[in-house]
Symmetry: C2
C-alpha cells in the first residue's frame, strides 16, 4: 500500500500549542498503551504500519515541518517537501512524482492520499487499504472515501452517491451546506468528504503533464513557486466523470479545534494540573514546568505552553484565530532537525536560551554578525568546533564565541546547554552558515 | 502620629502570586495615578504619609519579609522584626517596646495598631489619626475602630457598643456569628472589629511587664521564642474594662481572597492579556512574559506567575488553600534585600537562574560546597569579588566559580546576570556566608 499523508498548515486554532512554526499534528497529546504520549502524525503512522507493515508512507509537507517529522518519525517516512505553499493540486502532483521518480513506484500502482490530522481507529486504515485495492481493479480514475455522517454538519463537503451500495459512482459534490440542507443531503444518502482518495499514479502524472506541462519530480520541484494555487478537488476531482465513492462507517473525528481535540483526549489533563471537585468537563494541557490549578469551572479548556496561556469556554474556542493573529509573540520554543530550543529569558540586548541536541546530531556550522554567544554545557557530552578548532565538551564546560566566530556542537549523547546571546538587534535572521572544513 | 502596621503571614490564598516566601501585601496590583502599580504595603504607606507627613510608621513583621519591605519602601519605615512566629500579643508588645526603646517614643504618647492589608481610602487614615488623638485624652486604656457593617458577614468579629454615639464604651465582643445572628447584632448597633486600636505606649509596656516579665525591647527580642502564643484580643482587649470604640463609616475591604482582591482592581487585567467580547466579570493578573487569552468565560479569575497558573470561578477561589498546600513547587521567584532572582530552568544536576541586583546593592559574600557556578553579566556594571580578588564587571563578562570559591557582586548600576549552577544536590541550603575582608 502506498500512502501520501498531506501535512498542512500552521494551525493557529490550537494556540498556544500550535503556532507559526509548530503545527497541531506534532503536539504529543494522545496517550498510548505504554503510557507515553504521541502526536497525530505519530499515531497515524503507527496505525498505518499496524494495518500494513509494508506500506510506503510519503508525507507531503512544507520545509518548516521537515525537522519535526524527522524528530517524531525518524527517517522511516519519505518526505515530499513543498518548496513553498501552493494548494493541494501542486502538492499532490509533486508527491506523486516523488513516489514515481524518487521512490521508484511504477505508474500502474495505486496510492491513497489522506490528511494527516483526522482522529481515527485502525478500521479507517483497513478501509484505506481497500480503497487502494479498489482503485487498482476498477475502471474509475478516482475512488473516494465517503464517511457516513453522524450529524448534519455545516463544516464538511458532501458526496452524493448514485446508489447506497458499498461502492457507488459519484452523482455530485456539495460544498459546506447550512444545517437544514445538510439534513436533506443526508436523507438522500450523502456522505462526508474527508479528503481521502485513491488513484493509479499514472492518472495524476497524466494530469500533471496536461495541466502543469510536466510530471518530472525535479522539474516540478524547481518551478514549484510558478505553479497555480489550485486545489485538487477543483482541478481534478470535480471534473472527473469516472469517479467512485466507497463508504466508511467507522470513527472519524476532525481535530481542528480545542473543542474537538479535547473530546479525543483519554484523560482530562496532560502535564502538571489540579482540579477541584466542582470542575466539570474541564481539560488542561500544560507544557510548562509549573502547575495549573482549576477551580469551579465548567466546559473549559486550559492550555499553557512557553508561547502563552489559553483559557476558553470549549464552544468559544473555535473562534480563536483572529485573536491569535493579533499576538506577536517571539517564538519561545522550536523543534529543530537536531533537537530543540527554548527561550528562557529576553532582555534588551540579550537573550538566554536552552538548547537540547539529540544524540549523534549537530547544528549547522554558523556565525552571527551582531552578537556574542556563550555556551554553558549543563549535561551530556560531545564535540564543539569553534573557528575550526575541535574540542571535546561535557557538563561544566563554558565556551565563548565573539560575533563573527564560526561554531557548532556535535552531540555524542543527548547534550543540553544554556546559550547566552549578547548584542544589538538579536534576531534569528542574523545567521550565516558555513561549510565545516 | 505613631502607627504599627501588622504585616502577617504568607497568604497562600492568593497563590500563585503569593506563596511561602512572598506575601500578598507585596504584590503590585493597584494602579496609581501615574500609571504605575503598587502593592498593599506601598499603598497603605503612601496613604498614611499623605494623611500625616510626620507619621512614625513601624512595621511588625517576620524576618522573611524584611527584604521585600526594604525593596518596596526603601529605608523609610521602621521594622520590628519578630525572630519567629508567635501571635499578635508578643508581636504588638515587641513592636511597642521597639517604638519606645529604639525609636525613642515616650511612654505617654499613643500609637495606633492596624493590619497592613485592608483596602481603604484616605478617610480611614484620618479616622486612625482621630483614634490616636482620642486615646491621648480619654481615660479608657484602649480605643478601637468599629467599622459600620455593610452586610451581615460571618467572617468578622463584632463589637457591641453601649451607645450609638460616635465614640462609645464597649459593651461586649462577639466572634464570627452565623448570618442570622450577625443580622441581629447589626440591628443592635454592632460594628465590625477590623483589628485597629489605639493606646498609650505605657499601657502595653505595663501589660508586657505584667504578663511577660519585661518591657525591654532587647530582652523581649532575645527570648521571643519562649513567649506564649496568644492573641492581643484574648490576652488584653477582651479583659480590659476601660475600652472605647470609635465608629468608622468609610470604605473598608478585606482583600484576603481572589474574589475580594479583584473587586479592588481598577482594571480587568494586569500584564499581557486578551479577552474576547463574551467574557464577563473576568480578571487576569499575568506576571509572565507571554500572553493570556481568555474566551467565553464568566466570573473567573486567571492568575499566572513563575510559580504556576490559577484559573478559578471567583466564588470558588476562597477554597484554594488545601489545594495550594498540596503543591510542592520549587520556589521560582523571590525578592531579596539586594534585588530579586527568578529560576529559568531546572534540570537534574543543574539550575539556571536570572539575578537582578539593585544599584548600590550586593549579595552576601558566600560559597557553596556542592556546586560550581558561572555568572554571565547581561546588563549593567559593578564589581565582583571572587576568592578575595576584585574585578570590574559589565555586560558580556563571564565569571567561573568552582565549589568552595567565595564570591559576591556589588552592583553600581542595576545589574543583571544569568547564573548557571552545576552540581549534585543543588539546594538553597548549600550556602556558607563569609566576611568580606
Amino acid at each position: 500500500m502506498n500512502i501520501i499523508l498531506l501535512s498542512g498548515g500552521s494551525g493557529k486554532r490550537l494556540w498556544p500549542l500550535s503556532n507559526d512554526i509548530r503545527s497541531k499534528q506534532f503536539i504529543k497529546i494522545f496517550k498510548t498503551e505504554n503510557g507515553q504520549y504521541e502526536s497525530m502524525v505519530q499515531r497515524v503512522y503507527r496505525q498505518i504500519m499496524k494495518t500494513d507493515p509494508n506500506a510506503t508512507v510519503t508525507i507531503a509537507t512544507s520545509r518548516t515541518q521537515v525537522s519535526s517529522i524527522h524528530n517524531q518519525l525518524g527517517e522511516k517516512a519519505g518526505i515530499s517537501v513543498e518548496p513553498c505553499r501552493r494548494d493541494t493540486f501542486p502538492a499532490i502532483a509533486l508527491a506523486t512524482a516523488y513516489l514515481h521518480d524518487v521512490q521508484g513506484v511504477p505508474e500502474e500502482e495505486t496510492v491513497v492520499v489522506c490528511p494527516v490530522d483526522p482522529y481515527v481507529e485502525e478500521d479507517y486504515f483497513a478501509a484505506i487499504k481497500q480503497l487502494g485495492e479498489r482503485a487498482s481493479r476498477t475502471d474509475a480514475n478516482l475512488v473516494l472515501m465517503g464517511i457516513e455522517p453522524t450529524y448534519p454538519s455545516e463544516k464538511y463537503g458532501y458526496i452524493i452517491p448514485e446508489s447506497s451500495s458499498q461502492v457507488s459512482r459519484v452523482s455530485t459534490f456539495k460544498e459546506k451546506p447550512d444545517m437544514e440542507t445538510a439534513g436533506s443531503y443526508i436523507r438522500q444518502g450523502a456522505l462526508w468528504n474527508g479528503g481521502v482518495f485513491a488513484y493509479r499514479l499514472r492518472y495524476v502524472l497524466d494530469k500533471a503533464r496536461g495541466l502543469m506541462g510536466s510530471a518530472d519530480y525535479e522539474d516540478l520541484f524547481n518551478r514549484y513557486d510558478t505553479l497555480d494555487k489550485i486545489s485538487f478537488d477543483y482541478a481534478v476531482v470535480e471534473k472527473e466523470p469516472r469517479i467512485e465513492v466507497m463508504r466508511f462507517a467507522g470513527q472519524w473525528k476532525d481535530l481542528g479545534t480545542w473543542n474537538t481535540l479535547t473530546e479525543a483526549m483519554e484523560e482530562t489533563s496532560i502535564g502538571k494540573a489540579m482540579m477541584d471537585e466542582t470542575c466539570a468537563n474541564v481539560h488542561v494541557i500544560n507544557e510548562l514546568d509549573v502547575p495549573v490549578l482549576a477551580m469551579g469551572l465548567q466546559d473549559v479548556v486550559i492550555s499553557a505552553s512557553p508561547e502563552g496561556i489559553l483559557v476558553s469556554d470549549k464552544a468559544r474556542s473555535s473562534y480563536i484565530k483572529p485573536f491569535v493573529d493579533k499576538i506577536h509573540q517571539h517564538i519561545m520554543f522550536a523543534d529543530k532537525s537536531w533537537g530543540s530550543f527554548r527561550v528562557l529569558d529576553v532582555e534588551e540586548g540579550s537573550m538566554t536560551i536552552k538548547v537540547t541536541l539529540n544524540p549523534g546530531h549537530s547544528m549547522n556550522y554558523h556565525s552571527h554578525k551582531n552578537r556574542d554567544e556563550v555556551w554553558h554545557v549543563i549535561s551530556g557530552k560531545g564535540r564543539a568546533v569553534v573557528d575550526g578548532l575541535n574540542q571535546e565538551i561535557e557538563a561544566g564546560h563554558v565556551l565563548t564565541m565573539k560575533a563573527g566566530c564560526r561554531h557548532t556542537v556535535i552531540a555524542e549523547t543527548e547534550l543540553k546547554l544554556i546559550e547566552v546571546q549578547l548584542g544589538k538587534d538579536i534576531s534569528v535572521h542574523d545567521k550565516e552558515k558555513h561549510v565545516l572544513g
